[in-house]
Amino acid sequence: MLSKDEIKKIVIKSIQEINLLLEKNKRLKIEKNMCLYGPGSNLDSIGLVNLLVDLEQRLYNEAGVSVSIMDSKAFSLKNSPFRNLDSLVNFIANIGKDK
């Protein structure tokens, strides 16, 4: 499985890709602990779907890692793993450990 830094690099590439689909004033600003989804973010539910699908494909294409990010565990956690960049990276890293 990938290190958290490697996962983070791939997540950032996906965010950059999704930003291309967003209007300039709605693009996500990539920074430490950036807010991804929820209050304070410009990403709507379709934007989140776009991001996660792109991320799954990128993880496979660039690292050969086949994961389903949107599993039932993602919804049962007290704090959403999609809230910010670090929580998403941690969540993906833990999927790898579970496997």
């Binding site: 776009n50 699908v53 799954e56 496979y60 086949s66």
Partner: protein, 236 residues
């Protein structure tokens, strides 16, 4: 329609409607990726045809297969979910295992294929999905409670899925055929088939071309504004 190089994925292509549609779309100049649990029985040397073996109810197999199809053809334009099974029996005599299997193939298979193909259609911001329901849904035929329920699930799923993938410019529609001479109904008594035919406005058995014609409408370029619809054949 500009068919050349358009990639159509057809499940259940080893027999029945799926087999017919495979030959039909090959003749029309499409590239066809046929999917079924069995080897393809298709006697073709067409370079436009590839066959993929999988069980559509198995998530890992669907994920791998759809990924392979996309990487081989660099795109997926159309998905036609034909894979289906039936076990026509009185509900009181139907084992739970049969219910699981019917829903696994008819509904879960349709869902998994639609989900995975949409992920790749999304890349090209265009796609057409056609699922196969049945007139058993509106006719509510005794002895087909489980089969009809699974096909009802397919129709409802298609109508809602259509809304969810609309932002990606993917359409999703459904065709509900009448009985056609296929393996699916080979064990259904003739009297029962006659009763179904008599309940239709157009009182005859369905033909494969009837199904293909309805699918043609949904997949053609000009139908980009048609989604979330179910067409039942025969005038139900």
């Amino acid at each position: 329609m500009k068919n050349k190089n358009k990639v159509v994925v057809i499940t259940g292509d080893s027999k029945g409607i799926g087999r017919y549609l495979t030959e039909y779309y090959l003749k029309k100049g499409f590239v066809v990726a046929g999917c079924s649990r069995l080897e393809s029985g298709l006697n073709t040397k067409s370079r436009s045809y590839s066959h993929f073996r999988l069980d559509v109810s198995q998530e890992d197999q669907v994920v791998k297969t759809v990924r392979s199809i996309f990487h081989r053809f660099k795109g997926i334009d159309i998905l036609i979910n034909c894979a289906g099974i039936a076990s026509l029996n009185h509900a009181l005599l139907t084992p739970a295992e049969t219910v699981d299997r019917i829903f696994a193939v008819n509904f879960k298979g349709t869902f998994l294929m639609s989900r995975e193909c949409s992920k790749f259609m999304k890349i090209n911001r265009c796609g057409r999905i056609v699922n196969i329901s049945s007139v058993a849904v509106p006719l509510k035929i005794e002895g087909e409670a489980i089969y009809a329920a699974s096909k009802s699930a397919v129709a409802t799923f298609s109508e809602i899925f259509a809304k969810e993938v609309a932002p990606f410019n993917i359409t999703c529609n459904c065709v509900g055929p009448t009985p056609i001479e296929t393996d699916l109904i080979k064990n259904v008594p003739v009297e029962k088939i006659d009763r179904i035919i008599n309940s239709l406005s157009l009182k005859r058995m369905g033909k494969f071309i009837d199904v293909a014609n309805a699918i043609d409408f949904f997949v053609k370029d000009e139908s980009g504004y048609v989604t979330g619809q179910t067409i039942y054949l025969g005038g139900v």
